[in-house]
Structure formats: C-alpha cells, structure tokens
Symmetry: C2
Subunit: 351 residues, 2 copies
DNA sequence: CCTCGGCCTGCAATCGATTGTCGGATCACC
DNA sequence: GGTGATCCGACAATCGATTGCAGGCCGAGG
C-alpha cells in the first residue's frame, strides 16, 4: 500500500544519518557502528518492512549479484538438473541466476545476451557453446567472465565443465561390441557442437580399436538434438544401412526418435536392433524399452560450473583457465541385447 | 578490455550533451532531437559498443523490466512448458523472467521472494500457491502485482490462470466408468494445494453422480506430487483396498509411482489395474505402458499468465481481477482398459 | 588542564541514465 | 529590422544506496 520505504526513511525513524543506517544494516560494516545504534536501526527497518533496493546498490557498487545462464532449451529434460546445480551453488553466495532460453536460435541468443549485458550480470554460464561461436568471441572481447558448461568450444581461454563425452561413447560402443554386435550405426549430433563432434569421433575410434571398419553409410549426422531429428536421421540411416543390428545415438532424444522409427518399421528393440542413448535423462528408465544410456552427472556439472564462476567473481586477480571433465557411467537397461540369431551363424566368431 | 562506455562517453564523442544522447538513443523520444544529430549519436554509440546500463535506468525509472517467476521445481517436467509460455510472452514486451525454484520449501521460497522484491521486479507470476499462503498475503499487503498460474488459492483478489481441474478429473473418472470399472481408487495430491483438493472433490463427485459410493479407503492423500510419494501412497491404497481395478492419480508422477507399485506386486497394468494420470507430461506417451492422462495446455497457461501480468504492468489504473480457466482434454493411451475377466464373470476370456 | 588517540557518526560525492524546464538559435513574417 | 513561434539541445535534479573523509566526543595519560 504505502510506497516502499527507503534507507533514509529507516534512518529518520531511527534518528540517525542514512550513512549510519546503511552501515548498521550491512553485516560487513556493522562493526563500525555502536551496538545500541545498530539495534535501533534494525528495529526501525523491521518496523517499516524495509527492503534494500538492489538496483540502487548495484548502481553504486557495480555488482548486481546476478549471473546470466544461457541454455538452448529448458524443455530438453537434460538442462533443468544443470540449472538446478548452478542455482544451488550460486545461491550459497547470494547470487541469483537469470535464465535465458535460446531455443537454438542465434538471433534469439544474441538478443538475450544483449539483454543480460545491459542488466550488468556479474558473469555468465553458457550451455549453448558451439565449436566456433561469435558470441563467445565477443564475450572475450568485452572481458566478460564466462564459464562453459556441458558443451565445450574450440577456444581454450574459457573455463569449462563438461562430461567426458569421449569415454561415454566408448563405454556404450564397447558394450554393444561385447554383446556381439558387428554392424553398429551412429546417430551423430550436430557437428558444429563440441559434443556432437567428439561423440562421433569417439564412436569411430572405439570401433577401429576393435578392428572394425566404419563405413560412411553407418553414420548419419542429425541437425539437432531432438526426437524429430532422431526420427528423420534414423530413417536415413536404416535406408542406407538396413542390416544394422545396433545404433549408438549421440543423445537420449535421438535414441527415442530411433525407437520410434524401429517401431514404425516393425523392428523390435532390442530383439532386432539395440539402441543406446546418452545423458540418462529423467524417466529414461520408464521408457518402453527402458533405455540403455550413458549417465552424465548433470547436477554436478552445473554445480561445478557455478563454483568456477564464483571463483572468478569473488577472488580477484588473474585466474588460471580451468577445464573440468566429469566421468559418465554406462547404465545398462532394456534397449540393448545380443544380436538376434540370424546375426550369428557363429562361424567366424569374435576374438 | 576497456571499461564499458557510458552515456556521457557517447555524448562526448558525438559532441552533444548526454541528455541529447539519451533522447536520441531512446526510440520513444528520438523525435525530440534533430535527425542528423540523432544519427551522429547512434553512430557514436555503435562505434563505442555502448550498452545502456539497465541498473541506472531502473533506478531512475523505478521499472526494471523484470518479472519474478516462482515455481516449485523446475525438474518436474510440467513446469518448463509453463515457464516457456511466460517467457515468450514477456519477451515480446521486453521483459525478462527471473526464475525462482522453491523446491516446495517454505524457507527457501521466502528467501527467494525477498530476493526478488529486493531486485525490484515489476511483478510476479506464482506457480507455488497453496490454498492459504502467507506469502501471497504479504504480497497483497505490499501491493505487489501478482498473477497466479496453474495453482489457485482461496483468496479471490489475485488474477489467476488455471486448468479446469474439475473437468479434467471428471473426464478421467468417467472414462474408467465407461470402461466398466466399479471399484476405482484415487491417489490424491496434497490437500493444502488447490489442485490437490479440487481434483479429490471432483473425483468424489464424478463417482457419486454415477451412483457409485466412495468408501474412505478408496482415497489416499499423498504428501507431494512426486513419484516417491506416489509409490508410498499406492502401497497404502492397495493395502486398504486390494480389489481396486483402477486408480485415478492426481498427477502423472503419482501415476508413475502407482505403476511402479503395480509392477512390484506383480499386477499388470492395464490388464489387472488401470491407471490415469494428469498433465500429460512430456514423454508420457513413451512410458510402459503409455499413460492415459489428462492433457493440460501448459504452454498456454504460462502465456496467458504472462499476458495478464503484462496488462497490469503496462496499462495503468485499477484492474478487474480476472480468473481464467483453460480446458483440458483426455488422452487415452495404454494404461487403461476394461476390467479383467475376474471382474466381469458374464463375458468370455481374453481375446 | 591539556593533548592525543580511538570510536562513532555525519557530510557529501558518486554510480549512469532519465526528464522537466529553460535558454538560445533559426526562420518566417510583418 | 524587429517580433514571435518553433525547434533543439543543455542544465541540473533525481532515483537510493555506498563509502572516503572529516570531525566530534570521550576517556586516558601526562
């Protein structure tokens, strides 16, 4: 009802100067003011329902206590846990995250970035990095504090927290090899994104190191990490390589798309074709079939990214560029099985 | 690198006073300044990479262009679409959403609310409302602009956008009745939340209007909307009413928990027990079995809430309190079927 | 009684943009 | 050439909190 009260309202009520009120209210400077006076100020503040104005404070101190978090899409279930990790860590130091959904749209990303810069966030956590990314170049030029999470970039001067994608795909691929699969395809993610490119390379390398060829038609690159992209990718993949017995998808949503296509073509998973995902998104264990996938500690990725950024924000001076990699684990569920009988006349078997 | 440039830097470079620069930069007041001068200012701003300081502007104008969005948990897949709807609408008018995850914790909610008030958000969209809610009382006392989304409250002086929960549960319950079920249980949500209470009352009413009794042991109240709460609730429910042939869950996560327990007890869904959910959360169609549920237009809920708030923010003067209800639809999938043979002795065995 | 030092507290500048008011320049017209 | 209207741009106050500096008060010590 009554207009919100300001610092000088509090000061007047407590019978002191606003400078004194300010010092009394701020725990860090409270020792500068007489105990009894401080109590009086606190009481006055309480009575008036005083809420400090972060805007005014931010203008004076040029620190807003906010961090911009840029993610591709909140509706992709892999990101909420990351956000959660970030928020939990930042909150401990009194920082607030401003979320920006880019929807994988560069225009939109640009606009949101501008808006965050305008709002003078103290730093950024970016989950939308591409291998080469003009936005990151500009952030570097402006001297902004940026930590990358989940997706890396080609530049080496940003702190980053990622999963060990290489290892993750190796685990998935070797799992299929051990089951006896010999014709394995890969549904790759967008190659301008670090995760897409490294997972594809890892897939190749895993097969090669087991003396298996990787014909070009066994790999299809999807243009997004989405179920729809997985569907069209899998259609292409099965068209050009109909005899695959297993598919390593670069991502759970792609894997889901793959399962859709298998069903559509009357192929049973895992009996006829095995599928692996990546991320272990929430509810992946509830799917039909339950998805064998690579679990990534998303929450921890976010938390570590938050910590790295807090380091930059609170400690002064130059910082070494840290790049942290967290270890994923293979979660075996129902979408993988040995290749069906037609596959194994078992004459020249595995070594 | 170089410190960010300010309005007076731009003014100096363009050879004008900062007041002029300000007017030239702001589209709304640009007509007040000579066209050629305005061009010169814009050029100077571009050259310097000038980014206006929203903090300073906010201090002067006492409008921050931000809206606080309070949700219980981003990791519950029902909320991201709501958030998305809110953000899309707000963005059109240049507003930014500040997200706050309360994690259903009142302490945490309190702290986040304070933080948002401190940051002088222009308004709030609240998805954590309980039927009686001290936070809302205080918001009203402070004269804050608040729109409720998804969950209503007992107060009638807040704008709100909700789904028609009553209708939703009626649809689900009648669907089961039509399938021939006569012993239907309800996994109710927390009763201090509007959705929990109205869905339970609707369930009762739907059965009664079909001349069916609702024995007390057919209803169990869960203490949260989570899979875990659904598991323990279902255990209790089946313990006290083992002959149920169908369960109406107040929420998809509760339904998921119910399915877990059915599996754990060797009961097949839907053959022996049918289950319905509520919300049609993402991937509900991928579950095993695919979940019959009530689809709520979450995105639209968010979008409408955003619009309602924008109305309050942009138009001045008093506003009528609008309460908007969106219509849900029943999505029939694989988790519901007619009651099994033991239930209907007249007919023949399974086909 | 004077001086010195240590606590507190008040004064005032400051952060950067917005905006009401006013003065000066330009031009037209008489 | 003088007067008035019109338009532009400058001046300066303002938003609310923080903070360096200075000064007042008090007690202790000489």
């Amino acid at each position: 009802m009554s207009r919100t009260s300001t610092l000088s309202d509090v000061a007047r009520r407590a019978g002191v100067h606003q400078a004194t009120a300010s010092r009394a209210l701020n725990p860090a400077s409270r020792h500068l003011v007489n105990h009894a006076t401080a109590e009086r100020v606190l009481a006055a503040a309480r009575e008036l329902g005083y809420v400090p104005n972060a805007i005014a404070r931010g203008l004076r101190t040029s620190r807003t206590g906010t961090v911009g978090v840029i993610i591709p899409d909140l509706m992709n279930p892999l990101f909420p846990p990351i956000v959660r990790g970030i928020e939990d860590v930042l909150a401990q130091e009194g920082y607030t995250a401003l979320l920006a959904n880019t929807d994988n749209d560069e225009q939109r990303e640009r606009a949101l970035f501008e808006s965050l810069v305008t709002r003078r966030v103290d730093g950024f956590i970016v989950a939308t990095a591409r291998r080469t990314h003009p936005l990151l170049d500009e952030a570097a030029r402006r001297g902004l504090k940026v930590v990358l999470v989940y997706r890396g970039t080609d530049r080496t001067d940003f702190c980053a927290v990622t999963a060990d994608d290489w290892l993750g795909i190796t685990l998935a691929t070797e799992h299929l090899i051990e089951l006896g699969h010999r014709r394995i395809g890969h549904l790759a993610g967008p190659q301008d994104v670090y995760t897409g490119s490294i997972r594809a390379r890892s897939f190749n390398e895993a097969l090669r190191s087991h003396d298996q060829d990787v014909p070009a038609e066994h790999i299809v690159v999807c243009d997004a990490y989405s179920e729809a992209a997985g569907v069209s990718g899998t259609r292409r993949l099965l068209d050009q390589a109909p005899d695959l017995t297993a598919i390593v998808a670069a991502n759970d949503l792609l894997a889901l798309g793959a399962c859709d296509v298998l069903r559509e073509r009357g192929l049973r998973c895992p009996d006829q074709v095995s599928v692996t995902g990546f991320n272990d998104m929430p509810f992946a264990d509830k799917f039909d079939p339950p998805l064998t996938t690579v679990r990534v500690p998303h929450y921890d990725l976010g938390a570590e990214a938050g910590r790295l950024l807090l380091d930059q924000l609170t400690r002064s001076g130059p910082h070494p560029t840290k790049r942290l990699s967290l270890t994923p684990t293979l979660i075996k569920r129902g979408s993988t099985a040995p290749p069906s009988i037609r596959e194994a006349p078992s004459t020249h078997g595995p070594a």
